[in-house]
């Protein structure tokens, strides 16, 4: 008869620490050529671009702060941020976060990793942290590279804000840093969506593309005439609302709401991804993480989150309106004009005047008289008036405005030629760009508290 006796007991399973799995994940990520190339591109590309633009006569004036790239090095990182928010960051999150789980499905290494690390929870945490680390390195590269390139090529000069005010280099640097930090929030939201797609869709390429697709849909949505409450509830709004840091006073309301919404999305998507990952059966060969149920589990809670956010924000954001009203446009244009007039005065070597002395006002209308002066459109027209000390006559200048649904506007000078009708002004040292010819501005979308 055989007597069965077990061998000396093995210690119970001791999961590998998150720190070790995190290091393992970083090694795997950084060993990929595409990640190395992306790191190189992010740390060198913006610097080369900003430096190249600094040496050209044409400026990317359709990009926010692009028209100031010859004036100061601090415009470079902001132009980079505008481009990054639209294209680079969604694509980077796709490549990094959208692939961090799917790569194991593609390589067939899940079982190997689970046997080695012994804890799906720790694997999830380590993978999310490793993806986040690489993403932060890429974002830091874009920001630092753009700033260094701008400062080296153009110099550390004051930056003209979206209200026309001159920001001292130190102040500009701080606001640039804050703007990039704010853009991290929607980047994290996209990264969370990437993790969710990577877990829920497995080998399906849609998982990889999900952050880029969501970002594209959000961009399209921001171009539509949506109610402000819906606009603010979209997780990508902070890619635009950092503009508010460059107005005076800073438009912090939309910015903070955008950041909070994005962080809520980042948390919700990451938690959902974790939930789906921990429910996965790694011995079932037919299960690669994808499936209708997984997709439903991932999508439905996010739809609910969007609905709740819209429900909370819509009343506070003034109901169904666009948030762009006649008063706000007039105030923004007049304020920016007054600041930029002083800049032009300094360029022309004329005696300085203060904004209080100028008493600039704007009278704006939209389209024909039958159209309500409200909402986005390129048919806004403003007549700015101002006064000079000791002069009885009132100065007037005309602007055509193109106001985007997100509140950003471009004011295009329509004369008189000596003030805002030509892109150059004649200064004692030669021709110089005319700051009043075209300028960017921003209209706060939330109701103005001072208006009661």
């Amino acid at each position: 008869m055989t007597t069965a006796t077990a061998v000396a007991a093995a210690p119970a399973a001791r999961p590998v620490s998150v720190r070790r799995v995190y290091r393992f994940e970083l090694v795997k990520l950084v060993s990929q050529w595409r990640i190395r190339l992306l790191l190189l591109a992010c740390w060198l590309g913006p610097a080369l671009f900003v430096a190249a633009v600094g040496r050209q006569s044409t400026l990317p004036t359709d990009t926010l702060f692009g028209r100031w790239m010859h004036a100061t090095g601090w415009a470079g990182p902001l132009v980079t941020l505008g481009f990054a928010g639209s294209w680079a960051l969604p694509l980077l999150t796709s490549v990094v976060a959208g692939d961090v789980f799917a790569a194991e499905d593609r390589l067939g290494t899940w079982r190997h990793l689970l046997v080695a690390a012994r804890s799906p929870r720790r694997i999830f945490a380590a993978k999310a942290l490793a993806g986040l680390t690489v993403l932060l390195l890429l974002v830091a590269g874009l920001a630092v590279s753009g700033a260094v390139g701008g400062l080296l090529a153009v110099g550390n000069h004051p930056l003209v804000g979206l209200d026309g005010r001159l920001l001292a280099p130190g102040d500009a640097a701080l606001r640039v840093l804050l703007a990039w930090l704010c853009a991290l929030a929607p980047t994290l939201a996209l990264a969370g969506i990437g993790l969710l797609g990577s877990v829920a869709l497995g080998r399906n390429p849609m998982g990889l593309l999900l952050p880029a697709l969501v970002a594209l849909v959000m961009q399209l949505a921001q171009m539509m005439p949506l109610p402000v409450g819906v606009r603010l509830a979209l997780p990508g709004y902070a890619f635009l609302s950092w503009n508010g840091l460059f107005t005076g006073p800073a438009q912090l309301g939309p910015l903070l709401i955008g950041v909070a919404v994005a962080l809520a999305w980042a948390a919700a998507t990451t938690l959902l991804a974790r939930l789906l990952f921990l429910r996965r059966d790694f011995t079932n060969p037919a299960h690669d993480g994808s499936g209708r149920r997984a997709v439903a589990l991932g999508v439905l809670p996010l739809a609910a989150l969007l609905a709740v956010t819209v429900g909370v924000l819509a009343p506070a954001a003034g109901g169904a309106g666009s948030g762009i009203g006649q008063d706000k446009v007039q105030r923004s244009v007049a304020t920016a004009f007054a600041h930029l007039y002083r800049l032009q005065t300094a360029e022309l070597n004329r005696p300085d005047v203060t904004e209080e002395q100028l008493r600039a006002t704007a009278a704006c209308d939209k389209g024909s008289s039958s159209v309500e002066p409200e909402g986005p459109g390129n048919d806004w027209r403003c007549v700015v008036t101002w006064h000079l000390p000791g002069v009885d006559a009132t100065g007037t200048a005309v602007y055509q405005l193109d106001v985007a649904p997100d509140g950003r506007f471009v004011a295009d000078g329509d004369g008189p030629k000596e003030v805002n009708g030509y892109f150059l002004v004649r200064t004692p040292t030669g021709d110089a760009p005319n700051p009043l010819w075209q300028f960017d501005g921003n209209v706060g979308l939330l109701p103005d508290p001072s208006k009661g």
Partner: protein
Amino acid sequence: MDTLLAVRASGITKCFGDVVALDGVDLEVAQGGIHGLVGPNGAGKTTLLGLLLGLAVADRGSLEILRTPVGRALAAPDGVAGFVDGPGLYPSLTARQNLAALAALRGPGAGTAGIDEVLDQVGLTDVADDRANGFSLGMRQRLGLAAALLTRPRLLVLDEPSNGLDPAGKRHVHGVLNRLAAEGTAVVLSSHRMDDLEALCSEVTILATGRVVFSGPLGKLAAENRELDYRIVTSDPAAARRVAAGTPGVRIADDGAERLVVRAPVPALDELVVRLVGAGVAVRELAPVVSPLEAAFLALTDQPQEDVR
């Protein structure tokens, strides 16, 4: 006789939705033994190996690995290593980097074996610094084995480790497994290569549709099995045919010019050999046409032998 057990499974049942992958499976694996798992595709071999590796938990039944009861949480106890569905390797890393990353995962105090040592054991020293994306299937299998050896396992679980191996690679792998078993490591492996299993395993378990149809030593399997076909090459085929025809329990299955194929149980075959020698006929070759394990596998899993032959 006392048997030290590395695995003791009792009444293991595992379902995937409506599919019953394992249905009341009992399994005992002795420490220091090499245990083969055999079964047709879909028999539940990989699921069972996955349970041993802590990749899943059983729906019912009890499982004890290295004397540690496996609970409802994933992860096997320390001392278990191996792979199912092929080794997991990262193609952007070299063989050495793959192993170094795994060793780092375990930490410096985890008592891992040396990377060069395990690479040498599986015969991959020459390609240690090549990226794994250029490796053949056989090389990947050997690197997967090296990764498992890195943790100095007391229970090694391998799914089809002989896939894609050339003769040299096979020799390396067999050598490693035999040495590990001699040192006291229990090895559980699945394979469709009956020759490998017969060469390596002391015991086998045959699974069919999630149930155990045989479990025990290979010798017992051969004894339990009914008649087998044997090929006999002798110095005098005509005389051998006459002797075989006159031996009780022996039937002539095929009669070629140079060789004779007879169907007989083991005792009748022994009698035939005695009679041939007594008649002055030299026996130059005597071998089963289909190995005992393969024959048992085909019989116990209801596979037609003719199709395979």
